[in-house]
Amino acid sequence: MRYARHYAPILTALIAALASSSTLLAAEPPDTTDWTCEFCPADTGTTASVTLGVDYLDTDGDAFTDFRGQKDGLNGRISGWLRQRYNDDGYMDLLLEDFGIGTGRMRLVHGTRGVWGMDMRYRVIPHRTGYDAMTPFTGGRNQQLPQSWAPGATTGLMSGLTAALHPVSLGTDRRRFELAFDLPLSRRWNVDASFQRDDVRGRRALGANIATTISQLAAPIDRRTDQWQLGSSWQGDGYMASINYRVSRYTDDIGAITWENPFISGFGTLQGRLASTPDNEFQMLTGDFRYDLPGRTRVSLSYGVGSGEQRTPYIPATINPGLTVAALPATSLRGDVDVTRWDLRVTSRPWRGVGLRFSHHRDDRDNRSPVDLYPEVTTDAFVGGLVANVPYDFRRERTELAAEVRLARIMRLELSASNRKNHRSMQEVLETDEDQLSASLRMQVGSRVTLLAAFDNIDRTGSDYNVIPGITDAQNPRLRKYYMADLNRTRSRFRVDVQVRDDMMLGLAADFSDDTYPDTEIGLLDASTKDLTADFTWSPGERLSVTAYAADQRIESSQAGSSAFTTADWLATDRDDVRVLGATLAYQLDGPWTLAGSFDLSRYDGRTDVSAGASTPVFPDLRSDLTRVNLSLAHRSEGSAAYRFGVLWERLETDDWALDGVSYATLPGMVALGLTSPTYDAVMVYAELDYGF
């Protein structure tokens, strides 16, 4: 606080000087007696529209339905809106979208302008996470094998495996309900409140191991998150104050997942058990204050305190009755985390074309969960000693000073310098210090061309890299974890926007980023990205519009490892190439017909090379090719009805060496789900009838 104390009188004097220098414009109000607004249309009454849609989907892969919800064959759905306006400035809007196909959104907005408002939403997000899964297990939180199951030492020796397999669907449906109220108690005082509930149910692939044998389970998910928020703000002349309180409560209805061991175990382990995610609760109180000074200067301060707790009772350290295990030190973690955040920001535009910004941000996570000694039980198979848990603390600080200057009306220069400090507890590096310098120049060349060039340089250094106490298996001392390692990053960006004609825009951009980790012998050594993008729009009149975009991205990295726990003895390089191309077209034909089309193409090619000796078997390329064409024809006349026909063709082809050829028994020590890389060829024909009331 040395400087703060020293400069406090100056700060006070400055604020006083600024206040005294303010000049307010006193605008003369016009005489509005004749402003009757007789040409202004009244917005009252009810209007509505209903859209009935039907589609026929023919696909040879489930992956098409990810995030969509359609099923193979005939699907029906309903969309629509209802709009009601009342004489007293009341309003009500109801919007439905795509109900009936596994997705769907609903929104109801109701209120009286300036008096109250309500916003209610509901949406479903179906997400498929694995395809062609088969499992011998049945059940939910208790994953059981058939009664006749004969354990084998390897999957190849499990005689009943093939016969026991049955398909299982992997993925979740997220159902979100939101309700928000807004209550302007006066022109200055506002109160708002909201509630959000997320229900997520489904199954996911979950690895479960006993010693070196693995069962890949289709584990159930049943999660609920409720979030409440209550806020109030006061808007004064030249200042604003607000307070906000929010609570999040998460509950997991699974608790634990138990599975029967399909392998013959040398440890007498007939079952294993995993813990599901623990319930948690978090609450935070935030206060914001803003004060406007003359010279278009704003001082903003935000301060928040929060606390989280986790009290989920422990399950026993093992389900294996043959193991003798020391008692747990507690019945639950009694986990507590305190969060403190504060942000100070001063922004100013003292002259036209000049902007200044100073900010300081601090975020502290204080994990007050007790440290205890827990019995070390390895995969329900054998018992070790005692091991202490490691509750991590973090503190992040970021300070930035930025200036933006407009030069000669055609040029804009932005400069910024920032420092980021990350403090950590119980980790290899207790503090990293990151300096960033950025500069960007935007220039108007003539009336049709805009150029942008931007450069960033990041230099990160850290305190000594240490072996942390309390971790049983020490890491290789030559390893540098990439997010804590010393880093040099340079990034340059260029963009050109050209207004080719009055109705045509072209944008070209290039983005290059290079990371090097100078002190790393084992771990990530370097990484780079090269990103080229182009976008194009053409709107020659009201009847035709065309947009197009293209991107070409290359991501490369190299890292070293040590199989022998000494110096680096292998080197891996990763190279990912992504090319994306897309276009949309809308054309108003003669009469009431409109033709619309879109085309998207995405090509991914990934290569991993690991060099660990004279002749290292190579990996095949990773591949993901997506092609999509959508064409539709819409008819809208002056009547109430409109209709639209369309066809969507989409094909996805992927090669993934982690999944391809990995069947239920490919790995001797793993009963796999036999997931396949997503591949499909889908055609969907659809029709919609829209009727307005």
Binding site: L11, L18, S425, D535, Y604, G606, L667
Partner: protein, 322 residues
Amino acid sequence: MTVLRNERTDRSWLCLMLLLLLTSVGGSVAGAEDAADAGPEFTRRGADSCLACHDETSEYPVLDIFRTPHGSRTDERAPMAGLQCETCHGPGGDHAARLRSGEERPLIPMFNDEAIHEDADGHNGVCLDCHDDQHRSDWAGSDHGFAELACVDCHQIHAAQDPMVGGFGEVEVCMTCHADVRADFMQRSSHPVREGLMACTDCHAPHGTADGSGLVAGAGTDTCYSCHAEKRGPMLWEHAPVSEDCGLCHDPHGSVNPAMLVQRPPLLCQSCHSSTGHPSLAFTGAGLPTGSPSPYLLGSSCLNCHAQVHGSNHPAGEALNR
């Protein structure tokens, strides 16, 4: 158990003082500029003067504004309840005046195409006169605000349905400038933005945030926790980068790797883990099904065993496999 000592960043205060000093000089200049700025007269009939020309057949039709909150004449907060069109567009007397033959019509003072980008900040000030509430309080310091974007670069004030309001059309507007992000969402693994089930504002606050991150609940993890609260913990056995920043392992806009990972396992895991009992072995093509299939490489790779990579609350979950 705070083990971190509080420190004071003295440089921060020096920068703050410098900034305030600069603004004190600027404040006087800005005030003098404003005082010297004299505008035209107001119209005689308010909106009726404007609507005489700007009907549905006009090059700039505006009647749809009466289907929006701005068009209310009874809500005292709405521009149409005050100086009507001239609340935002400024005095339009010159613009609406009769012209002599061959005379060019003067532009409306505010929100004409030329003026907006000459002084985006000044125009935004018109909007912020009413909308400078707690949700837009950080606009001036936000990346969008600092780059002098105009509100109308994204918002359509006269449209019956502004695509940026309600979350049903905003993605296309955002992608107009963020073309690289559009490409990210075309990748194999991404949030369902391309499918229309999420919008940019589910995570981003385009009007700025107090911490400058532009994320709805702040940088690090809290924005992610608003949908993925199961990862919040605290867990008995934490995975340090999970508690610190989801972005250390995931790219939320999309990735060529499963689960939006920034790199493919096992290499991603091996960039941080190489321990005595479990060294970072070189997994090569020899571990594919055509060779000696390796559980360290195939399926979920490291996660075949360490499935609880986001943390475990099992008393024996130290290795994140319970």
